[in-house]
Symmetry: none
Subunit: 406 residues, 2 copies
């Protein structure tokens, strides 16, 4: 029997409130360059320091040892879904990042404007990174395409050469098709093909190719962006909602659309907010009465990690620490603080490393560990576990999970 089935059977329909505070990319790697410390170790965090000894610590492995997660797998894990089982295509992630609605009748594609020669060979996969305005003009032209065999086509410009195409209609659910992007320059652009032998995939391949051929015709003569590459075509994963699996009515407070969008994938209510921990924590305080689960997302930690900015990442953690009393003031029965993955400053990119986890709740006990850091979390009583194992631990801390077996 799978643990997720057991949880779904045992979870209560109501109970005290859980707040999950995610500092994006929180985890880091100590290096000699910064005195053998991580940004979390170096940051001045009086409020976290007051909380830590009275909490239980642990560590979360987002996917598996050595596997570096994108934001999708990172958050799905925190939301209690095994990212090895539930995969979300790049098209959907890109659509969520543009704050677009994605419904179960949609397939989303991440598309690039590209430069093709007369024979259809890709000479620039990013069309010279055309400016946003040139992108928007071309997307306006492509909006004339469709419906195709009853499928509506929604085209939305992104940054530079990137845009998103959402195909909306019947008979597309669960479709799996290849990319039209050959993945390198000097290769022929190609049609997508069904990756599974079923009606949805064959229908999807037909629709995507019809759009793509018409788009190529429309863009003919519009060098340098005279071609389109379609990638990561896919729809919503077919999974039980967060509400059904865990019995929680959840709000996602995040300033960046992608993170609200990832939360909406599992059925959370999106709550837009101004950026920064103070604004975000205040927003949760305002909206919280309608929910018994709050996912609150802070982006700055990850951004500074990606920039290789040690002081910036430490300062972002300090800003969270300063705003923390706002969250504590709401007196959540369970407060969990962690990250969706590590973004080591020394990598200037995501890393695979386990992320520290702090759970503050009467039922979680007090490990008595002085500070919440990567190193100290190794000794925490919660232990090291996959990210997707956290949700049952938080339900248990809330007293919302019944006993298994007699």
């Amino acid at each position: 029997m799978h643990v997720s089935e057991i949880v779904q059977d045992l979870r209560a329909a109501s109970g005290p409130t859980i707040v999950l505070l995610v500092l994006d990319g929180l985890g880091d790697v100590p290096t000699r360059a910064h005195g053998g410390k991580t940004p979390l170790e170096a940051a001045q965090t009086p409020n976290l320091d007051a909380l830590a000894p009275d909490s239980s610590l642990g560590r979360l492995i987002p996917v598996a040892p050595g596997i570096t997660p994108g934001s999708g797998p990172g958050h799905l894990g925190l939301f209690g879904y095994d990212p090895l089982e539930v995969q979300v295509g790049r098209g959907v992630i890109e659509a969520l990042g543009l704050d677009l609605d994605v419904n179960p009748n949609m397939l989303c594609a991440r598309a690039n404007y590209a430069t093709l020669d007369a024979k259809g060979v890709v000479t620039d996969r990013r069309a010279g990174r055309i400016p946003d305005e040139a992108n928007a003009e071309r997307c306006e032209l492509l909006r004339a395409i469709g419906p195709i065999d009853g499928v509506n086509v929604h085209v939305t410009p992104g940054k530079s050469h990137r845009f998103v195409v959402r195909f909306e209609g019947d008979g597309l659910r669960g479709a799996s098709v290849s990319d039209s992007d050959p993945g390198r320059e000097g290769a022929q652009v190609r049609e997508v093909v069904a990756l599974t032998d079923d009606g949805a995939s064959h229908r999807a391949a037909k629709i995507v190719n019809a759009f793509w051929r018409e788009a190529q015709e429309t863009l003919s003569g519009h060098e340098p962006a005279n071609g389109v590459l379609m990638r990561g075509v896919g729809g919503l994963p077919e999974i039980p909602s967060f509400s059904r699996r865990f019995g929680l009515t959840a709000a996602a407070v995040a300033s960046y659309p992608m993170y609200r969008g990832l939360a909406q994938l599992v059925g959370m209510t999106k709550i837009p907010t101004a950026d920064g921990p103070e604004a975000e924590f205040t927003k949760w305080r305002e909206v919280r009465s309608g929910y018994d689960f709050g996912f609150v997302h802070v982006k700055a930690t990850d951004m500074h990690g990606e920039d290789g900015n040690f002081e910036g990442k430490a300062a972002a953690i300090e800003a969270v620490d300063r705003a923390l009393p706002i969250l504590l003031d709401t007196e959540p029965f369970v407060l969990a603080i962690t990250g969706d993955h590590s973004t080591p400053v020394s990598y200037e990119a995501h890393g695979w490393q386990p992320v520290p986890l702090l759970v503050h709740a009467r039922r979680a006990g007090c490990d008595g560990i002085a500070r919440f850091t990567e190193r100290n979390s190794v000794s925490g009583l919660i232990g090291t576990m996959p990210s997707h194992a956290m949700m049952p631990v938080l339900l248990a801390a809330a007293g919302r999970l019944a006993k298994f077996g007699a």
Copy 2:
């Protein structure tokens, strides 16, 4: 989706060099008899002590808690193959230990000379442990057997009553047959039977039994070794090569044939060498330019563990420590030091216990832990994980693994 598939999708085709130094049977159990210390704790290891604080530590579980591995599962785990999924028969292991080539068209059997009475009842399963010369004489007689239905038979003497039979021909791949060894004295020797209902297993049973009947006839009158027991019949596991799975071109530097052989199973190039860390590290330094992965094997730690020789095991670790500068001089981008399993001195045998792991690499960070020991490794930031999860961690430390998901 399985982690190994993800790794195979995400791994780079080239990149910096990884060296895996395996101290066979490294892990141990602290006991009162030796002042509560393990040999690794008791050893004087100035070079390891200099490396440790600047490395990341962790622990590897070879198979599963409580499960004591043989050398085959121990090494397959380190090479990134789950030993619960990839099993190698005793016949193959025995053949590798005799430095024999094993190819995919072969089935190998570990065979014993035994004493049978007139009714075919086994009266001594080891034929009085006949001397090596008597073994070799009888193997010479058995070499006259075959080919059998197009299958060539290769007979090679081992130590005492042990020998190896390799059956080489078409139609044997994936065959699974039982043992002819009844497993106890006083029981009737028996023919092998197919364990799966397919062509390969039925063909293998026919060929093995034909060999075995002819061997019994040949040995008739050659008491005490007048019978043959066939055990552990099997071929190479059908697995993606190390090169395909991890994108690495690997050399196996080992003085003992079995360990080179285990590495060759997954496609590494065998590099014979004189015994001892100095000779082995020097050999790697000589050959390394053709490879981006070096597996270097040290045997003495295990041997002294098997002998219950605490001082000997500590001295073997000290010898590795003295030779370590030779390895460090090659400046591997990633250096991992661990064991294939524990061989606790107090057991005089292999044990199941997790094995300490040290990963030294710029991207691995510095945990700041003073010494590399079993106990200290518990606090390492890598954490405790299955041995077969180590390879992705080393690839990540080498920057040879792309991000999973968007």
